[in-house]
Amino acid sequence: MEHSSDQLETAVLDELGIDVYSAYESERYFLSPEALHHIALALIAEFFVGLLGVEAFGAALREKLVGCMRTFRAREIGTASYSDAGLMTELLTDARRASGSADVLNREPEATRELAAALVHFGMDPAVAQQHAHRLAALLLDEVRRPPQ
């Protein structure tokens, strides 16, 4: 069965574990729930945009997702604009709908590479980013292919 967006966010953050701190080079900073939400949303968006193409998402959502991914790669996390829980639900709804028609299996390797690249931008070592990207891709791909709850 599908995960709720909250469950999926938790699964993504669990996969990242302490590597979620990769954005910081020396000093440690508190990661607020908003920042964690931003990180999870950006990674889910990176994968599904890579998998389904940005056109798969409605115009208003598309603009938000592009901004979310850009700020994630620039390590400007925790901005209030992406803390709305509804964005994740919208993203998942569109992704599930589009995945029915898109050639998801062929595009999966490229989407995984984009995800790994985003994690490297975020500050992760390339080998570590690669491991996370593969596991996240499996988790997210499984998500759009599950029967609805």
């Binding site: 909250d6 469950q7 966010e9 938790t10 953050l13 669990d14 990242l16 574990g17 302490i18 590597d19 979620v20 701190y21 990769s22 910081y24 080079e25 020396s26 000093e27 440690r28 900073y29 508190f30 990661l31 607020s32 729930p33 500050g123 070592d125 080998a127 570590v128």
Partner: protein, 442 residues
């Protein structure tokens, strides 16, 4: 005589929850041997004294704490620990109040030890002995004896071929860290020293493992000159392995069935991250050139998360179950289910195993009789069945905790038959626990 004011395990209800004494003792000892107990007591009483204090409007309140030559900055809301002075315009720094005669971690350990039943397992007897050592002897003397034992095991590693280094490392973890003989913060550099000496084949003739940093620095400095390839390789391998192992054990703690295996895994995670951190520092300082796939911040945070999981977990054992569930309910009502589950059990906040966090949330959702729905009860029943399949000693506390909660829910609902069923299960667990206490397995 037990101090009447000191908290008891589960607010004095330990007898109703088989396994709670043993688990509490092991969890508290894990916390009490993370570092020097005087410092942990200071940290504990500081937290007690300052947790209710608020910053002036619009400012962020930081407390400055000094320990030896180090200065730390701690903020409660939002929780953060820094070693560098915060300098944002809204930061407001105050010196931490001097400790009063408040409740320290050592008081909690003492209280548990004074009231505990006969331990059921050999490991518990060892934990009890360790507690006695920490509480009744000069802690520095007890640690010194622990490091003497460490040295003896390390000598065996020296006599054996390098291929047998790994079993020696595991033996050191089992005999010194897991039996609370050496403080965790001094165990990690000592283990790093054994690893590097063994790998490079360069052993010091006399080694004070209780104060390993100077020797570690000397070893790396010397190896950098005499065997630069060897030290680069060793730091790279052990650093990256420590970081991977830390993540592995942190996830393992969350996947554990109960508190006992969870806290054991948290200690190993903490040790692994700390070793990775020391190696990173040595690599940078002596420019060894090892390629490390983690940043200082990431391993520091890993160690801090494991450590804070152990420290915050103490609260569960010294609070009555009803009060603890009420706290979960309050969090739930403000932050929602997903955030509450993450606060209770996630890599950044590993206070409980994930499976038990689900039980805590389901129990919190069931507090209000009007809100008890079939789903909440079925979650607890499902978890109870899951635990029935777990081996007895590792999760006896969690099994009885869930049965106890189900018994209460069915009593509230007036479902006498179901209430009786869980009362019987609980009675059987108490009997089984008593049996094993009198007949410890060998």
């Amino acid at each position: 005589m037990a101090d009447e004011r000191a908290p008891e395990v589960f607010g004095g209800q330990a007898r109703t929850f088989p396994g709670s004494d043993d688990a509490a003792l092991r969890w508290l000892m894990s916390a009490a041997t993370l570092s020097d107990l005087k410092w942990l007591d200071r940290l504990w009483s500081f937290t007690e004294a300052t947790s209710g204090l608020r910053a002036p409007h619009g400012r962020r309140l930081w407390w400055r704490l000094r320990y030896g030559r180090c200065t730390f900055f701690i903020c409660h809301e939002p929780g953060e620990f820094r070693t560098v002075e915060p300098r944002e315009p809204h930061d407001f720094i105050e010196d931490a109040p001097e400790p009063t005669n408040g409740l320290g971690l050592s008081t909690l350990v003492k209280s548990v030890v004074e009231r505990i039943q006969i331990p059921a397992w050999d490991e518990d007897s060892l934990a009890l002995q360790a507690a006695a050592r920490v509480l009744t002897e000069d802690p520095e003397g007890a640690a010194a004896r622990g490091f003497d034992e460490f040295g003896t095991i390390a000598e065996t590693a020296r006599a054996n071929p390098v291929e047998q280094l790994q079993p020696a490392i595991e033996s050191l973890q089992r005999h010194c860290l897991m039996q609370f003989k050496t403080p965790a913060d001094r165990f990690s550099p000592a283990l790093t020293l054994v690893l590097l000496q063994g790998t490079l084949g360069q052993w010091f003739d006399r080694c004070d493992y209780g104060d390993s940093f100077p020797l570690l620095e000397e070893l790396v400095k010397r190896a950098r000159r005499d065997d630069p390839t060897g030290i680069k390789q060793a730091i790279g391998d052990y650093g990256n392995n420590g970081y991977d192992a830390g993540k592995h054990w942190l996830s393992g703690a969350l996947a554990a069935p109960g508190a006992v295996p969870a806290v054991r895994r948290l200690l190993i995670a903490h040790d692994s991250f700390r070793r990775a951190e020391h190696l990173r520092q040595l690599n940078d300082r002596f420019e060894c050139g090892a390629v490390l796939k983690y940043s200082e911040t990431v391993v520091n945070e890993g160690a801090t998360c494991a450590l804070s999981g152990v420290l915050t977990g103490v609260e569960f054992f010294v609070t009555s179950p009803d009060e603890y569930v009420e706290r979960v309910r309050q969090h739930l009502s403000v932050r929602g289910r997903a955030s509450t589950l993450r606060t209770l059990a996630s890599p950044l906040s590993p206070t409980h195993p994930k499976i038990f966090a689900m039980a805590l949330v389901a129990a919190a959702e069931a507090i209000n009789p009007e809100s008890i729905d079939k789903h909440t009860t079925s979650v607890l029943i499902g978890l109870s069945r899951f635990y029935d399949q777990e081996p007895y000693p590792e999760a006896i506390l969690e099994m009885s905790w869930i049965d106890h909660r189900l018994m209460k829910i069915f009593r509230q609902r007036g479902q006498t038959h179901e209430e009786e069923r869980y009362r019987t299960r609980l009675a059987a667990r108490v009997a089984m626990d008593l049996h094993f206490r009198n007949n410890p397995p060998r």
